[in-house]
Symmetry: C2
Subunit: 358 residues, 2 copies
Amino acid sequence: GVDKKILVIPGDGIGQEVTAWGQKVLQTIAVNYKHNFVFEEGIMGHVAIEATGTPLPDETLEKARKSDAILFGAIGHAKYDNDPTLKVRPEQGLLKIRKELGLYANLRPIKLFDELLEASSIKPEILRGADILFFRELTGDVYFGEKKRSEDRNTASDLMIYHRYEVERIARKAYEAARSRRKKLCSVDKANVLESSRLWREVVQELAKEYSDVETEHMFIDNAAMQLVKDPKRFDVVLTANLFGDILTDEASQIAGSMGMLASASVGDSTGFYEPIHGSAHDIAGKGIANPLASILSAALMLDISFGLKTESLRVIKAVEATLKQGYRTMDIANKHTENHFVMGTDAMGAKVLENLS
Amino acid sequence: GVDKKILVIPGDGIGQEVTAWGQKVLQTIAVNYKHNFVFEEGIMGHVAIEATGTPLPDETLEKARKSDAILFGAIGHAKYDNDPTLKVRPEQGLLKIRKELGLYANLRPIKLFDELLEASSIKPEILRGADILFFRELTGDVYFGEKKRSEDRNTASDLMIYHRYEVERIARKAYEAARSRRKKLCSVDKANVLESSRLWREVVQELAKEYSDVETEHMFIDNAAMQLVKDPKRFDVVLTANLFGDILTDEASQIAGSMGMLASASVGDSTGFYEPIHGSAHDIAGKGIANPLASILSAALMLDISFGLKTESLRVIKAVEATLKQGYRTMDIANKHTENHFVMGTDAMGAKVLENLS
Ligand SMILES: CC(C)[C@H](C(=O)O)[C@@H](O)C(=O)O
Ligand SMILES: CC(C)[C@H](C(=O)O)[C@@H](O)C(=O)O
């Protein structure tokens, strides 16, 4: 077995409820496959602001640097959303840890479990067979460019900025992934309007020559947002900037039936960072009804990508699949037209997956 | 009858094919209702670059200023998309005319004709009853902020910037529209990350007090991109910035069955500007298969918004509806599972609408 140090950061809202299940799954895998996973816990986000005044305490960042992988929940709180003038904000913690750990590549696989074919608002015949892997750039763009507010507070700006090396390193990762998939890469930008997108396109065009075994397509973000709903099967690997990736992957959650099903991996130079795509979801936080599967599938991604434990990772995915086959559903993926669905809360659902792991 | 001067700018690609039908519809309306519409033609985009070296010749801009309304087709050409280093680009023409005419509010109504319920990739039960009016800010944001490229060409940036007055004037228009609709306004931003979005949210929050009869909701762009597919009926008026609006409205085209159905109105201080949401679509340009209905519906918006001719506008919409009821379809809205559909090209479809106008 392997020895690994895992930092668990539940964060805010439903992060607190679902992350426990990602962790339990990792613990079960450790026992079953005789690995030694040591867990630590860290705080980040609104909970960290409440406890320490800052959204990413140094202590958490230190623990993160020393860990082999991080399992994260979610970030954000209505208090800050309702008051845009607050200076210290939960999301700053997430952005800072992404930057500090050099997590420049955010992988978001979008794949529909057959059992959820009916859970989506999109027609099953449009969805069947869709299988997309997003590469979202994660440490550049308008997220990290300089932010300004004029003294009279009447003008505000954010700099959308990219450097060649930032585009190149994520594009390489995306091309490598495309090679081991269906050999198609779609790069999404807004090169007809944005200079940063024109740089993006230039760099990808250059790399396209190097990866000539992969079919490269360039698409404008507006068109991509449309095509994703119209014909998701046309995509294999999608490569895009931070902001566009944020938007497209949330949209793509409908391809997977629900946001509650989507896991992501953020990787870069060292430690990998695993988190559901969904947010803190204040509206359902504390009710025990959130879907734990995105956190559990994030754990599966960790096993595969950070630890190279493919068998174990697949085992987790199979357990999720089995649970869905048995008809167990959280609210977000329940189909009210189906009789043999058992709708349950976070903990009951998590427990079913654990059962199926054994 | 009224006297109006209308500038027609077919632009690039399928713009050349569909705009003729928007114009013919206006001509037919003029005859039927005894109005005097005088038409002029202008060039813009790739065709203008080819003819004059600039995407928006002064002559076109002059004509635009002197007209009561403008019917525009589409802009863009593969040549520029494939070469991001070209300095003179078709889209600059469109951006310049929007700025010069002060067209800060882009209205994009998304409504499904009953006959097209099956044409979308989204389930009919999700779509039925959806009726959204987008207010996209059109003369600010990262579209118009300073663009920079470093001397070594390795760094590129675009400034995402908003001024209070820019947010306020479009927000007011959106609130006024919401008052005459279902009294719900959803403002879309990314205030958890962007300073420009935080200004946006502050301004809308202030106006929300003034328009307290309208229910205001704030939503992050990533969530909005998801909700639009998941539950489009939850939206009434959607207010958003230039870039987010570009993305969301293209995505929303799937709610209307096809991009080929969507019209838009850009208004501001003077002349109104009417155009389909679809682009120049190089892939089908010149084939005579583009859907002319978006241009025809843009003409209907012109009659209503710029000329106050509500009866005439409704007459056009009814003619489109009748044409669809008769089973006539362009390729993009044809349903291969339905027997009594007659699939036809641009001109045949346009002619059917004209017949139904008489
Ligand atoms: C919470 C927020 C800062 C974050 C982002 O925009 O990156 C989230 O939406 C995500 O996608 O991980
Ligand atoms: C052609 C392009 C510049 C334009 C835009 O992005 O505004 C188009 O996509 C639109 O939506 O009108």
